[in-house]
Structure formats: structure tokens, C-alpha cells
Subunit: 313 residues, 2 copies
């Protein structure tokens, strides 16, 4: 048994797994003939230190990149499966801060609460996009908390999208833990501080991109992200990932500058995308530029695949 | 040097520390003559594994207990310092879900967005309370992310409130890590998975309740929380904490049942507080009952202290 198979055999599926699979199937079948479909993963995964979980290792990610990208994929005409960490940043909703909101409401005659004129003008275009997407049912919300939940849902979504290759796209923006604690080593109850210093040994998670590209979704356009904090090793690590897994695109980014620049790495080509001063002034989000770039490459990929299929016939 | 002093000497103050101290001083001085003041701590603290933090150990806590309790302390006439984990559940705002909200907005004639009749009726009392509290400036928002930020702000707030004992109250509902990684052992950059399995050694955090009760705020009414997952050891652990630190009240709760019951433990007395079936049906929150109980005990404490002072004079 491969390492990744062992992982799935030892870590049980999340609670609502059957429901999620049914939703995925229905969503993909409904949209496949009409528009391309993208799986966007977003937010960090947790690794529990206790089965009754009080403590856990987390990966830094608010989920802003995934949430923003989802909006831009919808703009580009895609149907989006938004697989996100529970309570992370959400598309559309991210523009409404509940804190600001209580200040932005005012009482009208008759006691009804309405947004102030100024706030209403800001929220209106977002509200309109949200209503349109909702009416078209082009956004499927699936969530996870732990690493294990994430991996189960990632596999299910990939296998579902493979039925609709090559016009399906994976955009793996979630910050997924490289380490985990095997089920057998997890403490049942809250670890007591009276036991003294705590040593935690984390095992390596099997590299899931490998079965993802070769077995679950061999016909899909796969985009992964690589986050580093040390600029010196970014391109090298991104290129190594690409060679190892043989997928289509790695988007490299540094923790410190990730809102302003990323590097798109393909076999033999690395392309720096950086917001111009003008774009920054206009509050253009880098996700808009990234998504346009990814969609363009995906369209080329689809053309090539269809050509090859025609040639082969 | 005591262990807790060493901790502060090795872990630097958070960025906006001076500003927070100034806000605390101004807030306490403004309210002290008019109403009791409570410090509510809320949400979990993080322990970074890397200085450029991608990974961290977190403590499970959405911050619901602290946020709900804050609202009930405000109802009881207290001024509240809400020291909370950044992006955790917030008082008032917690009743507005941005997701629901985009669905709850409708376009009026002229294009202005207003809450639907039904949603407006639900939000109205919350909006009104929020506006009143805001006008009275009875709520100070301070936030933290890491364990170190939390401890610095906890000490500053306690020292400030000590100036206004005995009518100040500490209500320590935050889920604070018992373990940390000393600065010298923290990796500068993101830990690489290519190095193989990861062993993390976490040291014990010095018990800060000890200097808090004896040095920073000896005249305050101090309430701490004890969360366990194993019911068998809850009362025993709560009582041990009380004997060790000699503060006023420990509120014991189990992860599994914490929304329905807690145990208030004082020296020689443990009192179970459980929501009745009727209260559950009426959606009464247990924080309402807890806060009423704590305020009642705090009032008795104030009376006794004032009596003792009068007798001594």
C-alpha cells in the first residue's frame, strides 16, 4: 500500500462526507456542459494534538487569497467549488465587516434598519454580484477544519472534476500542513501542564500532489501554491515541486510580499507578476491579475487537449 | 529573578503596547468613579513555531464565552475592557453573520439597501444596545494574537485596574497556552518538510496567576476559568488552582458541556450552574447566568472590603 493510501486508511472521513460527495457530483454535472469549473482551496488546515481537541498546530492563512480568487473566477465565468477552512475569509462576505456594519446601519422612519447612503453605495455592487451568483448557483461552499477532513474532500472533488477534464481546473491555495500526528499517538484528553515540558513529534504528511496528479485527476489543469519566507529559495523550491509532481503551474509567493507580487513557474519559465504603482493606487487586488493569468493558461491547455484528442481520433 | 520576570525580559512587548497602556489608563480613570470595571479576556493565544510565522500552536476557543459575557457585564452596568484574540467572536457583532446578511439585504426604491423587515426586527435590539454602549464609551477593545502579546497586555490591564480596587473585576476567559517555545529556540524561517519528521519541544509557561494575584492586582476580585475534557478531574483541578493562587473564583467547565453547565468553585464551596430545559427553550445563554452570579459575588466582595477598610480606620 502506498503511503497516501495508508494515510486514508488510518484517518477516517469527515462527518458529512457522503453529503459533500453528493453535492460535488450534482454541482459538477449541472455546470460541466455550460462553463469551466474550478476547485479553489482556501485557508489553513489544523493538526489536533488531542482527540478531544483543545490544542492544535495551525497553518497561518486567513483565506484572503482563496476568497478573493473565487470572486475573480466567478467574474471569468467559472463555476467554483470553494473548499475552505471553516470561518476563514469568505468571498463577497469579506467586504462586509460586522463591526463596521453596526455603525453603518441607521434607523428609518417606522424603525426599519437600512445601510447609510454611503455604505449602501459601497456594498451595492458586491450585493448584486452575490445575488447573481446565488441565482445561477455557480458557487458551492464546502468547509474543513482538520488536515484529514481537507485531504478527504480534496480527493473527492478532484475525482469528481476528472470526469469533466480538461475544462476543470484545480487552484490549490489552501495552506496545508506538511506535518501531522498519527492517530495512534494522539492524546485522548487535554494534555496536562503538570506533566512538565511537552515534546511533540510530527510525522511528514505523504505528498498528496503525487496521487492527485497521476491518479485522481490526470486530465486536469493543476495549479499549486508555494509559500516561503526566505526569498533565496522560492524559485528553486517551486521548480522542484513542478518537476516532482509534473503538474501545470506553481505560484510562488513570499509571506512578506504576497499581496504585491507572485511568481508563476512552469517548466522552463518563471514569470514575475507584480502590481504597478497605479494598480496599487486603484486598489487592484493581485488575485485579479493572478486569476486572469491562470484562466488564460487554462484556456490554452483546453485548446491543446482538444486538438490532441482530435489528432488522436 | 522570578520565572515570570524572566519571561517578560526575554519576550518583547507587542507593537502598540504604549498606545494600549495609554488607552487603559484613560478608560479606567474616566469610569472608575461612576461604575465598576471588568477586564474580560477572550479567545485563544498562539505560540509561533517560526519567527516569520507560518506555523503555530493554537488553543481552541472561538471566543464565544468572552464575547457573550461582555454583553451581559455591560447590561449589569460595568465598563468593560475586552482583551480578545484578533478576529475572534466579538460582542454585538456576533449576532450578525455576514453570510446571512447579504441575504438579508433588499433594495429599496432609489437603490438603497435595507435589512428585510424580519431581519431588521431581530437586529434592532442589538443595534440599539451597541449604539448606547458606544455613546457611553463603556467598551474598550484591545486585541492580541500571540501568548506573549496577551501576557503583556494582561499585566498592564491588571496594574491599571489595581488603582481602582476593589470595584474592579478580572474575568479571565481566554484560553491561554500552558506551553511556549523560548525565543532562542524559534526557527527564523519556515521549517522545511525536507528535513523529515519535526520534533517540537514546548516549555512550560510560568504560572502568571501567581504574580497577578499577589503583585499586579492584590486588591482585585479575580475569576479564572478551567477547561478540561475529562470530567473526573475538573473539580479537583479547579480547587487546586484556587488553593495555589488564592484568588476568588474558579469557573470549571468541560469542553463537551460548556454551553449548558459550569461549576463555580470557591474555597470550601462548589456550585453547579446548569441551564434548565425552559431556559434552553428560551435560548438563554449560560453566560448570562454566569455573569449575574459573578457580579453578585463581586458586589459582596466590594461590601466586605469597604467594611474592612472602615473597621481598620
Amino acid at each position: 500500500m502506498e503511503e497516501w493510501e495508508q494515510y486514508f486508511s488510518k484517518n477516517p472521513a469527515p462527518g458529512a462526507y457522503a453529503l459533500a460527495c453528493a453535492q460535488l457530483k450534482e454541482f459538477c454535472e449541472r455546470h460541466a456542459n455550460y462553463c469551466p469549473i474550478v476547485l479553489v482551496t482556501s485557508g489553513g488546515t489544523t493538526v489536533p494534538l488531542e482527540r478531544n481537541t483543545v490544542r492544535f498546530v495551525d497553518n497561518f492563512s486567513a483565506g484572503t487569497r482563496g476568497a478573493a480568487s473565487t470572486e475573480y473566477f466567478l467574474d471569468e465565468g467559472y463555476a467554483v467549488i470553494f473548499l475552505h477552512r471553516d470561518k476563514s475569509v469568505a468571498p463577497f462576505m469579506r467586504h462586509l465587516h460586522p463591526g463596521v456594519l453596526l455603525d453603518a446601519l441607521e434607523e428609518q422612519e417606522g424603525g426599519r434598519l437600512a445601510l447609510t447612503q454611503q455604505h449602501s453605495a459601497q456594498v451595492h455592487p458586491i450585493w448584486q454580484s452575490y445575488q447573481r451568483v446565488k441565482k445561477e448557483k455557480r458557487l458551492l461552499w464546502l468547509n474543513f477544519t482538520t488536515l484529514s477532513d481537507y485531504l478527504w474532500l480534496l480527493r473527492a472533488a478532484t475525482q469528481c472534476l476528472q470526469q469533466h477534464a480538461p475544462s476543470s481546473l484545480l487552484y490549490l491555495a489552501a495552506a496545508v500542513s506538511d506535518f501531522y500526528i498519527p492517530q495512534d499517538n494522539i492524546s485522548e484528553h487535554k494534555i496536562q501542564s503538570s506533566s512538565g515540558p511537552l515534546t511533540v513529534t510530527l510525522e511528514l504528511v505523504p505528498k498528496m500532489l503525487s496521487p492527485l496528479v497521476s491518479i485522481w485527476g490526470p486530465g486536469l489543469f493543476v495549479t499549486s501554491f508555494k509559500l516561503e519566507t526566505d526569498g533565496g529559495m522560492l524559485i528553486e523550491k517551486a521548480t522542484a515541486a513542478l518537476r516532482r509532481y509534473k503538474h501545470n503551474l506553481v505560484i510562488g509567493n513570499l509571506l512578506q510580499t504576497r499581496r504585491e507580487e507572485v511568481t508563476l513557474v512552469t517548466e522552463g519559465n518563471s514569470c514575475l507578476v507584480r502590481l504597478s504603482e497605479q494598480q496599487k493606487q486603484d486598489n487592484v487586488e493581485i488575485e485579479k491579475v493572478i486569476v486572469q493569468e491562470v484562466c488564460s493558461r487554462h484556456r490554452n491547455f483546453i485548446s491543446r487537449q482538444l486538438q490532441e484528442n482530435n489528432t488522436a481520433q
